[in-house]
């Protein structure tokens, strides 16, 4: 068996692949954040709580309505997205003219309220949620057993990221969205309903978080705090990728997943810190982030 830096090769490849899988979650979550920040200029701190809601809605659908994983994949983002729509209309839309800081404070408060409500109702131990039967089992890749579900997560995340990027960069709707962020009054003058577009964008970003939540439900503990453990890393991903850059957040999400995976092999104690070390280095050398445009 060959070794790399004293680590057996198969173990290293296994860890790289696991890093890629975690990167898929980072990419999906930071994608939603980047879309919301890019188009609304809101730093959505409630993103982790909405991710958690996605997982919980999947659990509720299964336990209260008997609706399984595959339908939850569609329904949970719709339900949580609708919730995001209400949030945007009633609360967040009042802050567009104010400093970023107010949006951050509001969404942070919302996150605490949402998580508190769920904790009050469901406790903090978490809820069981099984891997769907079609994706149970594992495939032998030679260097590791890859659980089929994890493979599915990577594929699903890649498809979703690509689709979002195409939607925003290559379609007419995307072009209007991007134009509205540059100069909203002008786009409105052309007869486009900008406030409605912004509302739907927020709902879309929220739906992405909820989708990631449903994908996460079978492998992570479905508990009210599940989002807060992700959100710090995801914000670092967005900052490194460049605030508001979609392609940046996706590539950085996958990249950081891999870096984190490698750190877990060589020095596990530092695996939670390494993301922030990278963030500090990037901010020192490229303050706008890897893919961001300097303001």
């Amino acid at each position: 068996m060959f070794t790399i830096f004293g680590i057996p090769g198969p173990l290293l490849f296994g860890q790289l692949l696991l890093g890629l899988i975690n990167g898929a979650f980072y990419a999906m979550l930071s994608l939603g954040l980047a879309v919301i920040f890019g188009l609304l200029n809101i730093i959505n701190f409630a993103h982790g709580a909405l991710f958690m809601m996605g997982a919980f809605v999947a659990w509720m659908l299964l336990n209260y309505a008997g609706i399984g994983y595959w339908w939850a994949l569609l329904l949970a983002p719709l339900i949580v997205g609708a919730f995001g729509l209400v949030l945007e209309r009633t609360l967040i839309s009042r802050l567009y003219k104010l400093d970023h800081l107010y949006g951050l404070l509001l969404t942070f408060g919302l996150a605490l309220v949402i998580e508190g409500l769920f904790r009050n109702e469901y406790g903090s131990s978490g809820m069981p949620y099984q891997i769907p039967s079609a994706l149970q089992g594992a495939t032998n890749l030679g260097f590791m057993f890859l659980p089929n579900y994890r493979g599915w997560v990577v594929v699903a995340a890649l498809v979703v990221c690509l689709a979002t990027w195409l939607l925003i960069e290559k379609t007419k709707l995307g072009a209007m969205l991007r134009a509205a962020t540059e100069n909203a009054p002008l786009v409105q003058a052309f007869g486009v309903n900008v406030p409605r577009m912004v509302t739907l964008t927020y709902a879309g970003g929220v739906a992405l978080a909820a989708l990631a939540g449903v994908l996460a439900a079978p492998i992570y503990s479905v508990n009210p705090n599940m989002g807060s453990s992700f959100i710090n890393t995801v914000f670092a991903v967005v900052v490194i990728g460049g605030m508001g850059s979609i392609i940046g957040s996706v590539l950085t999400g996958f990249g950081l997943g891999i870096i984190e995976g490698l750190t877990k092999v060589f020095y596990p104690e530092a695996s939670a810190t390494v993301v922030f070390v990278v963030m500090a280095i990037v901010l020192l050398t490229r303050p706008a982030g890897l893919f961001g445009k300097a303001a």
């Binding site: 057996p8 198969p10 173990l11 296994g14 860890q15 696991l18 890093g19 899988i21 975690n22 508190g116 904790r119 009050n120 406790g123 903090s124 131990s125 978490g126 809820m127 069981p128 099984q130 891997i131 594992a138 590791m144 057993f145 659980p147 579900y149 994890r150 079978p218 492998i219 992570y220 503990s221 508990n223 705090n225 599940m226 453990s229 992700f230 710090n232 890393t233 995976g261 877990k264 092999v265 596990p268 104690e269 530092a270 695996s271 939670a272 810190t273």
Partner: protein, 408 residues
């Protein structure tokens, strides 16, 4: 004749008023013992003790019945912050006349509150506390330690599993005091009983959600047993992911600090085969079943008590019996009450007959359980099969360890 009939509301009001007066009259004549339940009502340890511990304390009070004094129960949330816990305990002791605090989830809070109890000469009955310091260097004449500590959990699990053939171990441990102490105690036990420790991954706490890297490293080490030195959501995540990677089919999984609520959280499909230690399980014998049947209607979600919750029941009952035996003016002296608690034999439905040691540690046996498969389980909460029992003297940490109450 035109008689005025009193309306239903007037009759009810009059009755309430009357009982109110009667109640006040008797209360003035009878002394009151106040018990404070200080726990985590809203955070990560809510399920381990929390509202369920309060239900168990109420059950103990109900079973104690009418003595020569009245009993009041107060409850508060320390939010896992020692400063909040200390402020609440001070207020209870100074202003509200609380005689005894129990629950005390979270080791840091328990140690801090035990010091307040000592300064005010009250009683602290820690029943949901992991640290062995409470009966070691920081032991106090005003505190007793019920149910379990990390030593018992680590030692019973490691000892019995090595005896059952799990000779080589790999640990996945949370990188903070709790995880390091659990890992340390278990690794020492494994090696002392002839087993081998092949490796350990200390992962950053908090903030780790993906354990697959560490589990994979454990798998490639070829160990017989993976020892999980973590708790709560971390434990749930590790179990889910171990199941996902099929580890539980090839290796034995041992949780060094698992509770029945954690097993409930992941479900039997995922948790099956897991080994863990507890000093109380609802289905252990006739008496535990009887106690569980009595308390379940008032428990959150009608769950059976965890060993921490059973500890608040048992501790409260023993405290009240001691107070009754001493008589009330004398039992206001916390240190004297604790000394009497240690002298009196304990007996209740949760733990059977047992006693308290000089350092305040309760001496109860520790049972190693294996989690049943969904097919083996006969119904809700039928989760454990008992594999082995470690006798009380072996399960408790060695006497002494810097405790001034123990005469060398």
């Amino acid at each position: 004749m035109n008689r005025v009939q009193p309306s239903r509301r007037q009759v009810l009001g009059g009755a309430l008023l009357a009982t109110g007066f009667v109640g006040r009259a008797t209360r003035a004549a009878r002394p009151v013992v106040r018990i404070g339940v200080l726990g985590d009502q809203s955070g990560p340890y809510r399920e381990i003790a929390g509202p369920g511990a309060l239900a168990c304390v109420r059950q103990a009070v109900a079973e104690f019945g009418a003595g020569s004094f009245d009993i009041e129960i107060l409850v508060a949330d320390h939010q896992n912050k020692p400063d909040v816990g200390v402020a609440l305990a001070r207020q209870w002791f100074d202003r509200d006349g609380v005689d005894m605090v129990t629950d005390l989830t979270n080791s840091a809070v328990a140690l801090a509150v035990a010091q307040v109890a000592r300064a005010k000469n009250k009683v602290a009955v820690a029943a949901a506390t992991g640290t062995t310091e409470l009966t070691g260097r920081q032991c106090s004449p005003n505190a007793v330690h019920w149910s379990y500590d990390v030593y018992m959990l680590a030692r019973s699990t490691a000892l019995q599993m090595v005896r059952n053939g799990g000779r080589s171990w790999y640990f996945v441990a949370a990188d903070y005091v709790f995880g390091r102490q659990l890992q340390g105690e278990s690794a020492a036990t494994v090696e002392a009983s002839g087993g081998k420790v092949l490796g350990t991954s200390f992962y950053p706490f908090p903030g780790t959600t993906d354990f697959s890297s560490f589990l994979l490293a454990a798998q490639s080490s070829g160990a017989d047993v993976i020892g999980l030195a973590n708790a709560g959501a971390d434990l749930v995540n590790s179990l889910k992911q171990a199941h996902e990677f099929g580890l539980s089919r090839r290796m034995h999984l041992a949780s060094l600090s698992g509770f029945i609520c954690d097993v409930n959280a992941v479900g039997l499909e995922v948790a099956q085969g897991l080994n863990l230690t507890a000093s109380f399980y609802w289905d252990l014998n006739e008496r535990t079943r009887a106690m569980t049947a009595r308390v379940r209607p008032t428990m959150p979600n009608h769950a059976p008590p965890t060993m921490a919750q059973a500890g608040t029941y048992s501790g409260t009952l023993h405290y009240l019996r001691t107070v009754a035996a001493m008589g009330l003016p004398a039992a206001r002296d916390g240190a004297a009450t604790v000394a009497r608690m240690k002298a009196m034999p304990c007996d209740d439905d949760a733990f059977g007959g047992f006693r308290l040691r000089a350092d305040g540690r309760v001496l109860v046996p520790a049972h190693l359980f294996r989690v049943k498969s969904p097919a083996e389980s006969r119904g809700p909460w039928d989760y454990y099969t008992k594999l082995a029992t470690t006798p009380p003297d072996e399960a408790a940490p060695p006497l002494g360890r810097g405790c001034v109450l123990v005469k060398e």
